[in-house]
Amino acid sequence: MKLITVAWRNVGRNRRRTALSLGAIAVAALSIVFLFAYIAGMKADIVSNLINYYTGEVRLRHKDFEAFERFNPLHLRVQDAAETVQALSALDEVSAVSPRLSFPGAIFRDEQTLGLQGLGLDFDRERAYQDLSAILLSGTLPDEATPEGRRIPAAVGRALADRLDLEIGDDFTVLATTMSRGNNAMTFEVTGLLEFPVGSLNGTTFIAPLQDIQRLVRMDDAVTDILIKSTPGYTPEETAIAVAAATARLPAAKDLITEPWTEIDTAYSMVSIAETVYGFVALFFFVLGSTVIINTIVMTIFERKQEIGTLAAMGMAPRELQRLFFYEAGIMSFLGSALGVLAGMAVVYPFSVYGLDLRAAMGDIDFQMSGIIYPQITLGSTVLVLVYSTVVALVAAYPAVRKVTKVEPVEALRGT
């Protein structure tokens, strides 16, 4: 009879203890499957937010803007924006271009000064860049409305509207610093409410037509950023090279920097670091789960001492005895891991559809991650968990398995 068959039968001899061993590994595997799925969901979410709201797949901006960003250096800008956007749109590597002008502003209410963030968008180009209607909670986008008088149409983040006590049709006047560090103010009318996926955007940001924001901060045909999406088949790095070559012909090219999102310091790199840390957490989980298997093997060896003595007396070599118990540990590890992975997938699935809502906990934290995360099961991480947990359990069980060779047949048969 093959050793593997004997091992399989032995695993079933004490079903309660086997179930305990499998359960320990399964719980560890389930937890890690969920953790990895959550991290995968976070990473995908951050990438999506970066591309839509922060960096694009490739970002073009003034090379010194980031260093002085906290001083609102609007003069460190991308000039001749219209011409630049047109040139970039013609590139094969580029599928969409979004010129943007972002600025901090203030609203004065009674004795309070309330800060907010304005974002000027070219709505025709923005529609090609992203589906803004997906975040439109109510009302209309600014380019679809015509407010009365000198009011400028604006769509406001839901949480910002709550903070300012604004509803659709209400006015708000924003004081801003101009490009040359003067002041200007403009009155906006709320045409729509937006539900940005990122809490900090939701609580601070409003969007309005680019040309009006340019007039407010006196920037003529200039923007703070141009965000670019790649044509499918091109990597952000390849697109960045093409964009840099195209902008090299511009008069102010020496002042500009073209960066793929992968080279910009964002929350994504933090999550990637966290992923490595979580890898060690997973190892700890599996070692912890494996202690139950180790315990099971040690107890089995003790209980089956006479049987081991008999097998040894009948001529089974010590190495074969080791293999037998190793197979038993392997079967329990694999089954436990497989069960855990399957259970993990079952637990993750509803969250991957309906999301894990952390908005209340996250609030307006300035992190480029959405308040609702949709965990993602990936084949790679699932197989990794299966193999990882099995191997860790086997390695952990190996020292216990070696004890079987120390059983003396004669003493074992005597029952001592």
Binding site: F68, F71, P73, H75, A106, F108, D110, E111, Q112, T113, G149, R150, R151, D171, T173, L175, T177, T178, S180, R181, G182, N183, N184, A185, M186, T187, R215, L216, R218
Partner: protein
Amino acid sequence: MKPIIFYTEPQGSAMRRVLTPVVLTLFAIGVTLFPGTVGAQTATPTVAEIIARWEKNTIFDTARMEAEMVVHDRFGEKHTTMVIYSQGREHTLIEYTSREERGQKVLRTADEIYLYYPDAVELIRLQGAALRQSMLGSDISYEDMSGNKTILETYDVTLLGEDQVDGRPTYQLELTARERNVAYPRQIIWVDRERYVMLKSDMYSLSGRKIKELTVDRVQQIDGFWLGTEQTINDTLKSNSFTEFTTTKVEINARLPRGIFSLEELSW
């Protein structure tokens, strides 16, 4: 910005003074403590006498001034020109005339400050913490323009002694706020003993930290008034920044358009 004070030559009791809007607010206290006439004094006056004389000559009925403000910061210089109208202690109107700010106005009434921007439908009313906003990115805040009480109503004033500022003999005075809701709880000022122009002022927070410095770089006698025409202000809380304020033209007792200090006129 500098405290701009104009002194007439003594004509009986007709000695009068005018402050630029900014100075009116920021430095009115210090600057106007010593409305003086050149050579009018032979002995050190008491603080009470100084204050009394200042109070008597503090305010012009009307004035019109043209000024330029240059803000220096880490990114370079920002030039802004303006016309300033004032009436008594309580009313000041600044109309910006530089290209980018043309049409923008700041109105200070007895109790409030309003900002008018041609691109905005409504006026912005500043009060409370909002007054701490910097004026056009300068080292001057709107808070410096607020307040309409007299110095003695606001501060306890102590004569610390005599000192020299850039070779000029000065009186050194300490101003300690009687109330908590003032921009500068404590100030030390240096006043020219002969021309009664403030040459220097240090402003401190409640915790004793120096938060602003003002120096008068040039004093001119215009139409009989002593005027600090060039001043430098440094907000010590802002790094790499200082503001120069220069008065380029002064018209005292100017004829001002009717209703110029009203909210109705502000947006026209």
